[in-house]
């Protein structure tokens, strides 16, 4: 479904992706884990063309998304939804307007049909009566859920989640993870989740890729990753201070 081959990306003298290869299978939840500052969000932005690699290829459904014209790139982006790390809700719009926005702009649905879809999406994320509120009136967890509703409502084939539970308490974290699993089961999209949440993410994802020093260190099922003998992966999972991962 999404394939990255030998992807390199640097910002100035800082090399972030260094010959990265990754295949993300269709219809599954794939988690990308790894230490902070290793370029997980950068990798995610390459999948949707928000960043272009210095070299290498990124293909979505067999089509390269490198150096496309804006209209071509937008045609491919129609397949995507994205939940940003900081949610990126439009702060001058209400919750309802935020969720309705992609439908109003990209579909020819009637106002009633849009209202029905938005109401259902807000109900799915447990925010039935918050449509009139503005993003700055919501808690962090509520914002994430609105972001999830906005990402899901156009029914995309692929949804990218950039640290969907960072900064939330354990109960809200679990609720968000459960919500991702439930919506995935309901809609069957391909999900890519960038996450630090160890070990919770192993219950959510069907495949896990570990990003370390610009490359995918290991890729496999959650069980395979948890049983990995690689010292960096062992250190990351255990949260130990001793090992190949050094704090910057």
């Amino acid at each position: 479904m999404i394939t990255l081959r030998n992807v390199h990306k640097s910002f100035g003298s800082q090399k972030v992706l260094d010959g990265l290869d990754l295949h993300i299978p269709a219809g599954k939840i794939t988690a990308i884990i790894g230490p902070s500052g290793e370029g997980k969000s950068v990798l995610l932005k390459h999948l949707i063309g928000l960043l272009q690699p210095d070299s290498g290829s990124v293909e979505v459904d067999g089509e390269s998304i490198i150096n496309l014209r804006r209209s071509e790139l937008n045609r491919i982006r129609e397949k995507f939804g994205m939940l940003f790390q900081n949610v990126a809700l439009f702060d001058s719009m209400t919750v309802y307007e935020n969720v309705a926005f992609p439908l109003e702009e990209k579909t020819s649905l009637s106002k009633d049909a849009i209202r029905g879809k938005v109401t259902a999406a807000l109900e799915d994320v447990g925010l039935k009566n918050t449509g009139h509120k503005y993003p700055d009136e919501l808690s962090g967890g509520m914002k994430k859920r609105v972001g999830l509703a906005r990402a899901v409502v156009p029914n995309p084939k692929i949804i990218l989640f950039d640290e969907p539970t960072t900064g939330l308490d354990p109960i809200i974290k679990r609720a968000i993870h459960q919500l991702i699993k439930d919506t995935h089961a309901k809609f069957g999209f391909t999900a890519v989740i960038v996450s630090h949440e160890i070990p919770e993410i192993f219950d959510v994802a069907q495949h896990v890729a570990v990003l370390f020093r610009g490359k995918i260190l290991e890729y496999g099922t959650p069980e395979e990753i948890q049983e990995s003998a690689h010292p960096a992966i062992r250190q990351f999972i255990s949260g130990s201070l001793d090992g190949p991962i050094q704090m910057a």
Partner: protein
């Protein structure tokens, strides 16, 4: 040293190229995807209607000062009857378009940069792109269209209020003949004067939207980045307006 100079030159050239491209692409988008009427009307309200108070205030006092200074100068030649002409031509040809543009730059240009800059650093612009929507259609072209419509109208209001400000001081306070004030004005002001003022204010509208949107769109990181972009936007817009005013005046004179 040479390397640093080369680096700065490359950066400046890249910034200039990007700035030029931004104007060209915005112009293209105005014809291709001008944005919804609602977005444009909202921006006209923000850039135009909400600037009315400051424009009226500035225009009134500018006209009054012109009335005072003009009277002081013209009485030396016994030509105080020409006060209306002096006030009107100064306002219509020069001060109306320039001062209105500078006021709108301070009030709306800075806000445009801050709004788009905050949307940039909070990834709202990225969110639009991931939805396969062109941010220019929502954020840039409505502001361009609104500024191009609002500035000539604000300029016209500035001119009228300024002329009455001059009338208040010249006629009501200093005793200039009211008939002479308006009659001489009517005789001297020709369509070309009015036209040149409108051409100026239209182009100033483009400059305000262009630099305001550009600086916000490429704002740096965090609150400091937005603050720097906003300051740069106001300073650069004001300078470009004054420089462009000189060139336009030399062409339209």
């Amino acid at each position: 040293m040479v390397q640093a100079l080369g680096h700065i030159t490359v950066e400046v050239m890249r910034d200039l190229g990007r700035c030029g491209w931004f104007l060209l692409y915005s112009t293209y988008m105005i014809f291709r995807r001008p944005g919804s009427l609602v977005h444009v009307l909202k921006q006209i309200r923000f850039i135009g209607t909400k600037s009315l108070f400051v424009i009226v205030l500035t225009a009134a006092f500018t006209g009054m000062v012109l009335g005072l200074q003009g009277y002081y100068t013209l009485t030396k030649f016994g030509s105080e009857g020409m006060l209306g002409t002096a006030v009107a031509l100064s306002l219509i040809r020069e001060l109306g378009p320039v001062l209105a543009a500078l006021m709108v730059t301070g009030r709306a240009g800075s806000a445009i940069t801050a709004e788009i800059g905050i949307m940039r650093i909070t990834e709202q612009i990225d969110a639009l792109e991931t939805m396969a929507l062109d941010p220019f259609k929502y954020l840039v072209t409505p502001k361009f269209i609104a500024a191009m419509i609002s500035l000539p109208l604000l300029c016209a209001i500035f001119d009228v209020i300024g002329i009455y400000g001059g009338w208040l001081v010249g006629v009501k306070l200093l005793g200039v003949n009211p008939g002479a004030y308006f009659y001489e004005m009517e005789k001297s002001v020709v369509w070309r004067d009015v036209y040149s003022g409108f051409v100026k204010s239209f182009s100033f509208g483009v400059i305000i939207a262009w630099i305001g949107c550009y600086k916000g769109y490429y704002a740096g990181h965090g609150a400091e980045g937005v603050s720097k972009a906003t300051t740069e936007s106001v300073v650069l817009t004001s300078v470009i307006i004054l420089v462009w005013d000189y060139f336009l005046t030399s062409v339209l004179l």
